[in-house]
C-alpha cells in the first residue's frame, strides 16, 4: 500500500475511505459514484478504511488485486480488472461487521417522502432488481442491500451504494431508458455483476432517514402469478430477525427494534413472476396503508 491518499465515499449511513494506485479502479468508482464530488464534507473520520492494491505483474494466471483493511487482507484476491466488485463486496462485508449501533437488515429500501418501504429477503430472491425497478418508477433509493435501522430515532437510513445486479437482472434493468449502469464484470464469484447507479436526488438526500411505513418480503419466482398476502405482526418480527445481519448480536435491542417496526409498518408477503405486477402491487398497498 504505497499510496495512502484516501478518497472518501460518503454513502449516508457510513463513510468509506479508499486508497488505491489503480487508475482503472478510480475510473470505475467515478462511474458508479458519479455524484460523489468533494468527498462529502471535511470530517476526517471514516467507518471503514480500505486499500486496493495490485499483486505481482508476473503471476502466471493473471494479475490480481487485493483488498486491505487494517494491515490485513481478509478476502481472496480478485482478477485485477474486477477491483470495483471487490471493493463493493468487501466494503459491504466490513460495514455489516462494524455498524452494530444499528439494526442491520438484509433488505432493499426505497421511500416516498419520509415513508419507507423495506424489502427484506434472502440473496437470490430478486430484492436488488425490485429495489432498482421501484427507484426507476420514481421512488427514492436507499439501498439494495442494507436496511439500516437507527433504533434510537426509529428511522431507516439510506446506505447509498450502487446496487449490485447479477446475471439476468442486468438486462432486465438496462431495458429502462433512465437506468445508469456501470461496466459488466463477467465471471465473478457471483456470476456477471453490474452496478446500478441511483439518481442524484437520492444521493443528495442520503443523510435524511425515513419512517418504516411498509415491509414487503419479496420473492421472484419465474413464471409465477402475483400473490400478495398480509403478514401478521408476530410473524413479521421473526422474519425481520431472520433477514438481519446482526439481530442475534443485538439480543433484546434487536428484538425490540423488530417489534417496533412490525407494530409501525404493515407487512406483506409478495411473490411474483412479472416485475411490473410487483411494482403496481407495492404502489397500491402503499397508498392503502394508513
Amino acid at each position: 500500500m504505497p499510496d495512502t491518499s484516501y478518497r472518501i465515499v460518503d454513502v449516508g449511513a457510513a463513510r468509506i475511505a479508499v486508497a488505491s494506485p489503480l487508475i482503472e479502479f478510480h475510473h470505475q468508482l467515478n462511474l458508479v459514484y458519479p455524484h460523489q464530488r468533494d468527498g462529502g464534507g471535511d470530517v476526517p473520520f471514516a467507518d471503514i478504511r480500505v486499500a486496493l492494491t495490485p499483486g505481482s505483474k508476473l503471476r502466471f494466471w493473471g494479475r490480481q488485486v487485493r483488498l486491505w483493511s487494517e494491515s490485513q487482507a481478509p478476502f481472496e484476491p480478485y482478477p485485477i480488472g474486477s477491483a470495483l466488485p471487490l471493493f463493493e463486496w468487501g466494503s459491504n462485508w466490513l460495514l455489516s461487521q462494524r455498524l452494530n449501533a444499528y439494526l442491520l437488515l438484509h433488505a432493499g429500501v426505497v421511500a416516498r417522502g419520509d415513508q419507507a418501504v423495506i424489502l427484506p429477503a434472502q440473496p437470490g430472491s430478486g430484492k436488488s432488481t425490485l429495489t432498482c425497478a421501484l427507484h426507476l418508477a420514481g421512488w427514492r433509493f436507499f439501498s439494495d442491500e442494507f436496511g439500516v435501522i437507527d433504533m434510537e430515532r426509529g428511522l431507516v437510513l439510506p446506505m447509498l451504494k450502487p446496487a449490485a445486479l447479477k446475471n439476468a437482472s442486468i438486462e432486465v434493468i438496462r431495458q429502462h431508458t433512465n437506468a445508469v449502469l456501470g461496466p459488466v464484470f463477467s465471471g465473478t464469484r457471483k456470476g456477471d455483476v453490474a452496478h446500478f447507479v441511483p439518481d442524484k436526488e437520492s444521493f443528495e438526500e442520503r443523510r435524511t432517514g425515513a419512517h418504516p411505513h411498509m415491509v414487503v418480503f419479496p420473492r421472484y419466482v419465474a413464471g409465477a402469478p402475483l400473490r400478495c398476502l398480509p403478514v401478521p405482526p408476530t410473524e413479521a418480527v421473526m422474519r425481520i430477525g431472520l433477514n438481519s445481519f446482526n439481530y442475534q448480536t443485538l439480543g433484546p435491542l434487536g428484538f425490540d427494534a423488530a417489534v417496533r417496526i412490525a407494530r409501525q409498518a404493515r407487512a406483506y408477503d409478495l411473490s411474483y413472476g412479472d416485475l411490473n405486477d410487483a411494482l403496481a402491487c407495492i404502489e397500491t398497498l402503499f397508498d392503502q396503508t394508513p
Partner: protein, 367 residues
C-alpha cells in the same frame, strides 16, 4: 513511511483506563488500532458512560464494539450453563481465563472479547471429562494421528471441541504449560487452592494463580502477535486483586514455588511500562530479572510483536522478524531441541505440501 509500533499506541493504552479528549481524526486511528488488537470494546467501557463528549460516529463505533463483546459474553454464559450438568462433583472442573473472569464478575471481563471456554481438570480425569463432553454432544474436528498424538502426549490440552451449531470452542486442559516445556510444573498443586464459584458448579484458580496463568499465557504462547490485550488482562487482574491483604507476598511466593518467576517478571514489567500498573518497587526488584542482554532484546522485540503497527500498511519486515524471533523462543521453551527439530520439520513440510497442492487446486478452479 510505515511505523511500528504505531505512534498512537501510547494514547490507545491511556484510553483503556481514562477517557481521552481527542479529535475525530485521532479517534479514527485509535479505533483502527483498537480493532486490530481486540481492545475496542475496552475503549467503549472507559468512554461510553463517562462525561466525555464523543462525536456521533465515534460513539456509534464504541457502541458497536460494546454490543459485540456483550454478545460474546452472553455466549460464554450460555456455554457454561450447558457445561454445568457435566460437573458431577466427583472431581473439580476449573474454568480458566475469560470464562472465569465472567463467572467471578470481574471488572476486567467487561469489554473483553472471549472466543473460547477453557476448562482444567485433574489429569487422571481428563478422559472421563472428554467422554462426558462427547456423550453430551460436543465433537472434535477430525485430526490426523500425528496431530492427535501431538495434543495427547506433548501438549497440555485436548483437541478443541465444539457443540454442532455453536460457535464457541471448549478447550479441555490438564495443565497450564506444555508437558514437555521448560516451564512445565505439576498442575496438582493448582487444585489445592482452587475456589468454588458461589452459585455455580465450577471452580476457578486461586487469585495469584490467575495472575500467573495470565502471564504464562501472554509471554509463552507463540509469536505474541498483537498480544497487548493479554498485558491488559494482567493489568486488570492486578489492579483488582492488589488491595487484598498479602496479595503481593502470596503472588511472589507462588511464582517461586511453581517456577514461574520469569513470566511474572515480564507480565508485571510490561503492565507497569505500558499501562502504569501500580506495582510496588520491591516486588519487581525481588523477582529474578532476566540478564541485561535479554532485557535489552525483549524491550525491543516485545513492543514490535505485541503492539499494532501503522494500519495503513502491510506489517513491516521488522515486525515479522520480531514475531519470528518470539516464535523461536517459544518453541525452544516448549520442547527440547531433540523433539522440536523433527516436529517443526514435519510441520513445515506438510504446510509446504498443502500450499502446493492447495494452490494448484484453486488455480484449476479459476481456469
Amino acid at each position: 513511511m510505515s511505523q511500528a509500533p504505531d505512534p498512537a499506541c501510547p494514547l490507545l493504552l491511556q484510553g483503556l483506563s481514562r477517557p481521552l479528549d481527542v479529535d475525530v481524526a485521532k479517534w479514527d486511528r485509535l479505533l483502527r488500532l483498537a480493532r486490530r488488537t481486540g481492545l475496542h470494546a475496552r475503549l467503549a467501557e472507559t468512554h461510553l458512560d463517562g462525561d466525555v463528549t464523543l462525536a456521533d460516529p465515534v460513539r456509534r463505533h464504541l457502541l458497536s464494539a460494546k454490543r459485540v463483546a456483550e454478545f460474546r459474553t452472553q455466549m460464554v454464559r450460555a456455554e457454561l450453563f450447558r457445561l454445568a450438568p457435566l460437573c458431577r462433583g466427583d472431581f473439580p472442573v476449573v474454568v480458566l481465563k475469560g470464562g472465569a473472569y465472567i463467572l467471578q464478575e470481574r471488572r476486567l471481563s467487561r469489554g473483553r472479547f472471549v472466543s473460547d471456554v477453557d476448562l482444567l481438570v485433574p489429569q487422571s480425569q481428563l478422559r472421563t471429562m472428554e467422554e462426558r463432553l462427547r456423550q453430551a454432544g460436543w465433537q472434535t474436528a477430525p485430526l490426523d494421528p500425528y496431530d492427535e498424538r501431538y495434543y495427547r502426549d506433548w501438549s497440555h490440552e485436548t483437541p478443541p471441541m465444539r457443540f454442532p451449531g455453536r460457535t464457541l470452542e471448549v478447550d479441555l486442559h490438564h495443565a497450564l504449560t506444555p508437558v514437555t516445556g521448560r516451564l512445565a510444573f505439576n498442575p496438582q498443586c493448582l487444585f489445592e487452592t482452587i475456589r468454588l464459584v458461589t452459585g455455580s458448579p465450577f471452580h476457578v484458580l486461586a487469585p495469584e494463580d490467575q495472575v500467573l496463568h495470565a502471564c504464562l499465557h501472554c509471554f509463552q504462547d507463540g509469536d505474541l502477535e498483537l498480544r497487548v490485550r493479554e498485558v491488559v488482562d494482567i493489568d486488570g487482574l492486578v489492579r483488582e486483586l492488589a488491595p487484598e491483604p498479602k496479595f503481593w507476598d502470596q503472588l511472589v511466593r507462588r511464582a517461586g514455588r511453581l517456577g514461574l518467576e520469569r513470566p511474572l517478571w515480564y507480565g508485571l514489567s510490561f503492565a507497569r511500562l505500558w499501562l502504569g500498573c501500580p506495582i510496588p518497587e520491591q516486588v519487581l526488584a525481588g523477582l529474578p530479572a532476566p540478564s541485561r542482554g535479554t532485557t535489552w532484546i525483549m524491550d525491543r522485540l516485545v513492543p514490535l510483536a505485541m503492539l499494532p503497527p501503522d494500519p495503513d500498511y502491510p506489517e513491516p519486515a521488522k515486525v515479522r522478524w520480531a514475531r519470528r524471533a518470539m516464535l523461536a523462543r517459544y518453541h525452544l521453551q516448549r520442547m527440547p531441541a531433540g523433539m522440536l527439530v523433527p516436529h517443526l520439520a514435519r510441520k513445515v513440510l506438510r504446510r509446504t505440501l498443502a500450499r502446493h497442492v492447495g494452490s494448484e487446486a484453486e488455480e484449476n478452479n479459476g481456469a
